[in-house]
Amino acid sequence: MEVKVLFFGVLSEISGTSVKHYRDVKSISDLKLRIYDDFPEIVHYNYRISINSEITDNDLLLKSGDEVAFMPPFAGG
């Protein structure tokens, strides 16, 4: 299985990309560990997560094709 991860705002700069694919991640917490491995600096930033355009604070299970976004605090206007 594979999920698509989107990085926004300052996180896209830290990760050096706005999209990255991860394989064999069971859950949000699992994905976070993989991302912290790749980009340790991200641990220092505040962010919220959405799965398939729905914001969530829960450690949900992931399935193939899910789109997971890592979003720093919104700054529109």
Binding site: E13, A69, M71, P72
Partner: protein
């Protein structure tokens, strides 16, 4: 762009004119309240902002903007219409990056609903910005 809420670059005079022109079409409206957000040429640590570059999560912008409209319409029974337009990409100092346009039967709900819409946008719209300075350095906000 797959969304009714985002525009590439500054909110244009043309877009603004279109909204202004359609005001009179609803003769049950007694008040229109409009907010324009404009990029300021702020000075930060001695460097002047020349532009802001906005990025957005488009699908989620759509969902959140619809939610904001539903929230406002359920709270303000006198509101007839709500338009929201936010920029993506580069908007220079002095240009408009946000437009909120609320029409209502009476002035109080028009102004309160417009103000509350702007606050909901600030809190809930997945948009990010980076300030670009005159020397082309930048800072995420």
């Amino acid at each position: 762009m797959g969304t009714n809420y985002l525009t590439a670059g500054p909110v244009s005079q043309k877009l603004i004119s279109q909204l202004i022109k359609k005001m009179g079409s609803k003769t049950n409206s007694g008040g229109h309240s409009i907010f324009f957000g404009q990029v300021r040429a702020d000075e930060i640590d001695g460097k002047k902002v020349k532009a802001i570059e906005y990025s957005a999560y488009e699908e989620l912008v759509n969902a959140e903007a619809e939610m904001i409209k539903r929230t406002i319409l359920s709270e303000f029974s006198d509101v007839k219409s709500i338009d929201i337009i936010h920029s993506t990409g580069v908007v220079k100092a002095g240009e408009i990056s946000l437009l909120v346009f609320v029409s209502a039967g009476h002035r109080h709900q028009a102004m309160q609903a417009c103000s509350e819409t702007v606050e909901l946008i600030k809190d809930n719209l997945p948009v990010w910005k980076k300030e670009i300075f005159e020397d082309d350095s930048f800072k995420w906000k």
